[in-house]
């Protein structure tokens, strides 16, 4: 047995075994955000969710949103661009901390 089992994704709702009211509120919110076309289409939302899934390295979400992207009509080019956006953001967020480093260098007159 692994810590992550793909079959566990289907058991997500079981988290509501205790304090079901809170889980119900979560699913309500989650489905309202991701499950319908709004100002963003379901496809655009699925691509964002895929990018977030990869950035946060959640195997359940990567599985679910790879499928959701395909089922909303996205193609591998679009999906790959989405995860590159995540990767570029991660790189940017790392590099922008270089300014902190520069600040320290300046403060130390180095």
């Amino acid at each position: 047995m692994n810590y992550y089992e793909s079959a566990d994704l289907k058991r997500f709702a079981e988290v509501g075994k205790f304090r079901k009211d809170l889980m119900d509120k979560f699913f309500d919110y989650y489905n309202s955000v991701t499950g319908v076309d709004g100002a963003l289409t379901k496809r655009e939302k699925a691509l964002i969710a895929l990018a977030v899934s990869v950035a946060k390295q959640c195997p359940y979400c990567i599985d679910a949103y790879t499928q959701a992207c395909l089922e909303s009509g996205a193609n591998p080019d679009q999906m790959t661009e989405a995860i590159h956006v995540a990767a570029a953001m991660e790189a940017g967020m790392t590099l922008v901390h270089g300014v902190q480093m520069q600040n320290v260098l300046e403060r130390m007159d180095a």
């Binding site: 289907k10 496809r43 499928q67 395909l70 089922e71 909303s72 009509g73 193609n75 591998p76 080019d77």
Partner: protein, 344 residues
């Protein structure tokens, strides 16, 4: 019963037609659905299993090696049925590549004389590939279709090369684009033309189609911008878990996941629109079936004796009981699936 309660079968134990783990009729009962034929307005005839292609998802298992052909006697009998039954307004000719039946051209001309609407499931590439057995050219097809006002329905799994070639073979996308351009040139696909060209999308894998409306908009935009192509409608079709596609799923361990996906997406409204309620499917030897999928699974219409075009009786066919199997979940998932696309 939720899918979580299902104990999944061993792959080697999986029955082809009635898999008790995916019991379609139990779902009809659960939703109090009694699906009977409503009218028979279409004869869908499968006139050959010969094809110039051998696509990964083909439920017919068609290929250049197949030899089954509908003969002239059977085709003449179908013409008699069409002449006698005004209710049957549409003839949907499929295969294989139906143009590879030696009587195809003659049959289209004769059926047209009976004022029937003719649809041909045209794979686009046969125009360039020709007959893989005889080498006969099929370059005349666009003009032939236009001359006889045939509705052309063609599979194009995606508006890009990757998904299309992955499913239908290397080089199919570019050949299909050239073929559609030829159809456009003779008048197909423009809004003011009576020559209709409809494209068919099916997913390039074990997933459900996106909404027909949104995919049609994508296809129209991309194909126009990239290639200057026009077409009328896009039909989205769900991959059926039978034959070649099913075998691939089993080989890659995805059969149960796919069946669960179809079952979880069961839509009773889509079920009301399934195509077996309005068509009769005819096999190359004249045997009658509820749909092309039942035909490929050899689920013959029985009602006492085997039904063929030679004992066809419209009223009896209208009152028949439709045969269902686990594959029928493919037609009722999400927005539904039929030879004319989504049913909801």
């Amino acid at each position: 019963m939720s899918m979580m309660e299902i104990e999944l079968p061993l792959l080697s134990d999986m029955p082809t037609i009635h898999d008790p783990h995916y019991d379609f009729e139990a779902y009809l009962d659960r939703y109090n659905l009694v699906l009977k034929p409503s009218i028979i307005d279409t004869l869908q005839i499968n006139i050959t299993k010969l094809c110039n292609q051998a696509c990964r998802h083909c439920h017919v298992d068609a290929s250049p090696k197949r030899t089954e052909q509908m003969n002239e006697t059977t085709l003449r009998q179908i013409l008699q049925i069409l002449a006698k039954n005004e209710e049957i307004k549409n003839v949907d000719i499929t295969g294989g590549a139906p143009e590879l039946n030696p009587f195809f051209d003659w049959f289209v001309i004769e059926a047209k004389k009976l004022n029937k609407h003719i649809m041909v499931r045209h794979n686009l590439t046969v125009t360039f590939d020709g007959n893989p057995v005889t080498g006969e050219s099929k370059r005349y097809l666009p003009e032939f279709f236009a001359e006889h006002n045939v509705e052309v329905i063609s599979s194009l799994p995606y508006y890009q090369e990757y998904f299309t070639d992955k499913q239908r073979g290397k080089g199919v996308f570019s050949k299909s684009i050239e073929s559609i351009l030829l159809l456009n040139k003779v008048g197909y696909g423009t809004e003011d033309s009576s020559l209709h060209l409809n494209l068919v999308y099916n997913p390039a894998g074990a997933f459900l189609p996106a909404s027909q409306q949104s995919l049609e908009a994508d296809f129209k935009k991309e194909l126009w911008q990239q290639y200057g192509i026009r077409f009328n409608n896009l039909y989205t079709i769900t991959n059926m878990p039978i034959h070649r596609f099913r075998d691939n799923l089993i080989r890659h361990g995805g059969y149960n996941d796919y069946m669960e996906k179809l079952v979880n997406a069961f839509n009773p409204v889509a079920a009301l629109g399934i195509m077996c309620r309005t068509i009769i499917s005819v096999g190359y030897d004249g045997t009658l079936y509820d749909c092309d999928f039942n035909q490929m699974l050899e689920m013959e219409i029985q009602n006492g004796v085997k039904k063929t075009v030679f004992n066809f009786d419209y009223k009896k066919m209208l009152n028949r009981s439709i045969l269902f199997g686990s594959h029928c979940f493919g037609c009722t998932a999400g927005t539904g699936s039929s030879c004319g696309g989504a049913t909801v």
